[in-house]
Amino acid sequence: MKISIQINEGPYQHQASDTAYQFAKAAIERGHEIFRVFFYHDGVNNASRFTIPPQDDRNIVNQWAELGIKNANGEPELVVCVAAALRRGILDESEAIKNGIDCNNIHPAFRISGLGQLIEAGIQSDRLVVFGD
């Protein structure tokens, strides 16, 4: 089955991203396809390549990245909502340049796109599961 996931909360503060990750991993192991993971609200903070958790703790951003969720064109299907991301300071190279900021902080396993990608995930997938606060 094609399953998509929406994540509304950032890493560490709430368990949402942890649970969603365990769910996505289990779904893949079960032979399902994760069509897309859409990071919305504070969920966009899961995409920061700047996170440095303590050594004895899990690295949530890297866990997501290592799942390697991509589409047939090899593009990441860990998708970060652009409006929510800008509001919270998650930038890719193009948004950084556009806004005159010297640097980006998005992890390369993620990509920034519009809210239409969430609707599309709902249309294209057999199931959509939301994880939030």
Binding site: H41, G114, L118, I119, G122, I123, L128, V130, G132
Partner: protein, 134 residues
Amino acid sequence: MAIKKFMYLNRRSSFGTVYAIESLEVVLVAAAFDQDVSLAFIDDGVYQIIEGQNTNGIGMKNFSKTFHALGDYEINKLYVSAESLEERGLSADDLMPLVYEDEDDNWVEKSSVKVVSNAEISKIMSKQDVCFSF
């Protein structure tokens, strides 16, 4: 492409958290996709469409007017829990008069807001393909 039924479940009030405004942003985008869209307002979500919101005192954007735009996008199924209203001492008269023009009925202006029981919301929910919660 087959039309899917999408429900947006709104359970929180507008300014304490970002969920209400960012939910509305999704709904407006969804309008472009020609799917079947319903909004459910239950619990404190009913405060999202209460009449007379004024954010001057808190320095935040008053986006409640944006709900009036939904009718123009043919988003006109806003289900409000009767029980949630009643528990909060509210009635349908306290809500914003959100309307749409019915193209199948000579563009007559009709109310988009339907106050229904939880049992009815349950039935409507059962028919959805996708439920977004924020």
